[in-house]
Structures are given as C-alpha cells and as structure tokens.
C-alpha cells in the first residue's frame, strides 16, 4: 500500500488559515490502514482545527467526509453537489488523491494533509517499511523475492557492495543489507546459482527516468 505520514498540524494551519469553509476529505484505503488519513484522523484533525479557529475568534466552518477512495472518479463524484459549499479542501489522501481531487474540482483549492512517503507494508502496528519503488520492471523472480531497488541504499543489482558488514548496510547499522538478505534467501531456496548470474544494466526507462508513466490496458479499457 501507499504509506503516508501525518503533516504537523502547524503546517496545515499555516496553509489553510485564510479560508472560511473547509472540507476535510479522508480516504478509506491505504491512508486509513497506515493511520494517517482515514475517518479517524479526519475526525481528530477537524475537531482540533475547529477548536484552534474558535480560540482565535475566527468563524471557520469545518466539515468532514471520508471517501472510499480519492483515486477513482466514481468516488470523487460523491462530493460534486456539495463541493461548492466550501472555499477549500484539505485532503488526507496520498498525493494521488490530492491531485485527482484538484483535477476534478478546478476552482476549489486543495491542500495536502499528509506527506506521502513510499510503497510499503505494516511490519507491526505503527511501523511501516518500504518494499517497492514501482520501477516498472520487477526483478523479484531472480532475487529471492527481496527487492534491491527499494531496499538497497545504492539500488545495486549485483551486490553486495563493499559496505556490507555483518549483514548490515553501511548507511545504518540497524538496516539489513538487502543483498545479504538476498543471498541468505537464495541459499535457503537452494538457488544460489541465481546469485552467480550477472544482472545486466537495468532499463530505467520504466522508472521515473522515462518521465511520468502510464499503464494502458486495451483488454479492459472502455
């Protein structure tokens, strides 16, 4: 899922302080799971902002709504008839949701309420870790299911580098060396011969090097 983290409330206040009718828009998907922008976070932020503005003797209307998703037209359409009641939207969705909302409702300024961080998994509640960089050409089949693109600091494809020590990466002694993990896993799978193969230079054109990306599926496209 997409992992996001809450923005400091001070930063949010600074962005929206001049608006009078604000809709706080949550998202029921990834940001709900990583506890940054779901219904609960919307409620807390809305309550805190209402109190902040009241305390400043400012009459600001703050409403709450959480959509199933903000990255799909059909769900974003749900606010079509009410959006005109607001002079701004504070979206707690990931950067995708914020942009999709802004694209759909041209004349309403949309502000982000979270920092979108990475594609990751929940290691334990409150700890989210990066696992994928969406490079567009998955190599997990040959690396024992461990991704050096997202988990190796240098993104090297024939590792480890000289900085790998006692299974840890040189950038941080608490960080596992991705290549050590790959070797251990390939060994456990009895596939160390995979490790012996030299991986050729990766085609980064499917990554961000090729500019903004698009997936077009003629088989499902209407």
């Amino acid at each position: 899922m997409i992992i996001a983290d809450k923005k400091p409330i001070e930063e949010i206040i600074e962005a929206i302080k001049d608006y009078k009718k604000i809709l706080i828009l949550g998202c029921n998907e990834c940001v709900t799971v990583c506890e940054a922008g779901g219904k609960k976070e919307v409620e807390i932020l809305a309550s805190a902002l209402r109190m902040y503005f009241l305390n400043q003797s400012k009459d600001v209307k703050i409403d709450e709504k959480t959509l199933e998703r903000q990255c799909d037209h059909e769900y974003l359409e749900e606010i079509r008839n009410t959006v005109e009641n607001y002079d701004s939207i504070l979206s707690l969705a990931c950067g995708v949701g914020v942009q999709f909302t802004a694209e759909k409702y041209h004349s309403t300024p949309v502000f982000p309420g979270v920092n979108t961080c990475f594609l990751g998994a929940t290691e334990e509640r409150g700890v989210w870790v990066e696992r994928c960089q969406a490079c567009g050409k998955c190599i997990l089949a040959s690396t024992g299911g461990i991704c050096p693109v997202s988990r190796c600091a240098k993104r090297i494809l024939n590792g480890p580098c000289g900085g790998s020590s006692k299974g840890k990466c040189e950038i941080n002694k608490d960080l596992a060396c991705a290549w050590q993990l790959i070797i251990d896993r390939l060994k456990a799978l009895g596939k160390l011969d995979e490790y012996e193969k030299i991986t050729p230079i990766k085609d980064w054109s499917t990554d961000r090097a090729g500019g903004p990306r698009k997936v077009i599926r003629e088989d499902v496209k209407q």
């Binding site: 409330i9 807390i44 805190a48 902002l49 305390n55």
Partner: protein, 117 residues
C-alpha cells in the same frame, strides 16, 4: 467507604481505558469540558494486556495536540489504580479538580461565548 470526590466531575464509563480515543478527549473539550482524565488499571495488570498503555499514549498525543491549538495539554491526565483503591480514586479526583481550577476554564468554552455575543 463513602468517600467524597468533587461533584463537578462527570464519570464516563468505558469497558477499558484502551477504548479511549483521542477524538473522545477532543470532543469533550469542544463541548466545553475544562479538563479530562482517564483512570485505568495499574500498568501491567490490564485485563486486555495493554489497554491502559494505549490509553496513556493517546493521552500524550492529545496533550500535544491541545498544546498546539492553544487549549493546553495540562488539562488532560492519566491515572492508574487498582479496583480496590477507592481512596486513590477520590484523591486523584481532588488533585485533578484542584489543578484544573487553578488553570481556569476551557478557552474554547469562553471563545464560544465570545463568538455568540
């Protein structure tokens, strides 16, 4: 025991302090409460293992948030006691009451009055 505690304290019963969420604390302040405190079991003796630890964390988060928005984090607190410690219950209630009396009324309550006038 027939112990007395300040009559201005409203008790809201929840199954475990782990049920307490930040929003419950914030809503209490939005509605005009001058202070909010949770009374949970002693740490290490939660029937649900870590309900009171969760509660403490949420109290801490609410404190920070209330400080940021100018309501004052010192208006919230967490106390722990065992179910047999009625005397502690009463003394914590008095302690909290005195603290809040000293801090004064919830600024949100005052702001609401100001805005209505």
């Amino acid at each position: 025991m027939r112990l007395e505690y300040p009559s201005n304290i409203k008790i809201i019963r929840i199954p475990c302090t782990g049920k307490l969420d930040i929003i419950h604390i914030l809503r209490a302040f939005e509605k005009g409460a001058d202070g909010v405190y949770a009374v949970g079991c002693l740490e290490g003796s939660c029937q649900f293992n870590n309900g009171n630890i969760r509660s403490r964390k949420r109290i801490e988060q609410a404190k920070k948030l209330l400080d940021t928005i100018g309501v004052g984090g010192e208006r919230v607190a967490m106390y722990n006691l065992s179910s047999g410690e009625g005397t502690h219950f009463a003394s914590y209630a008095k302690e909290m009451n005195e603290k809040i009396q000293k801090i004064g009324p919830n600024p949100i309550k005052l702001a609401k009055k100001r805005m209505a006038a």
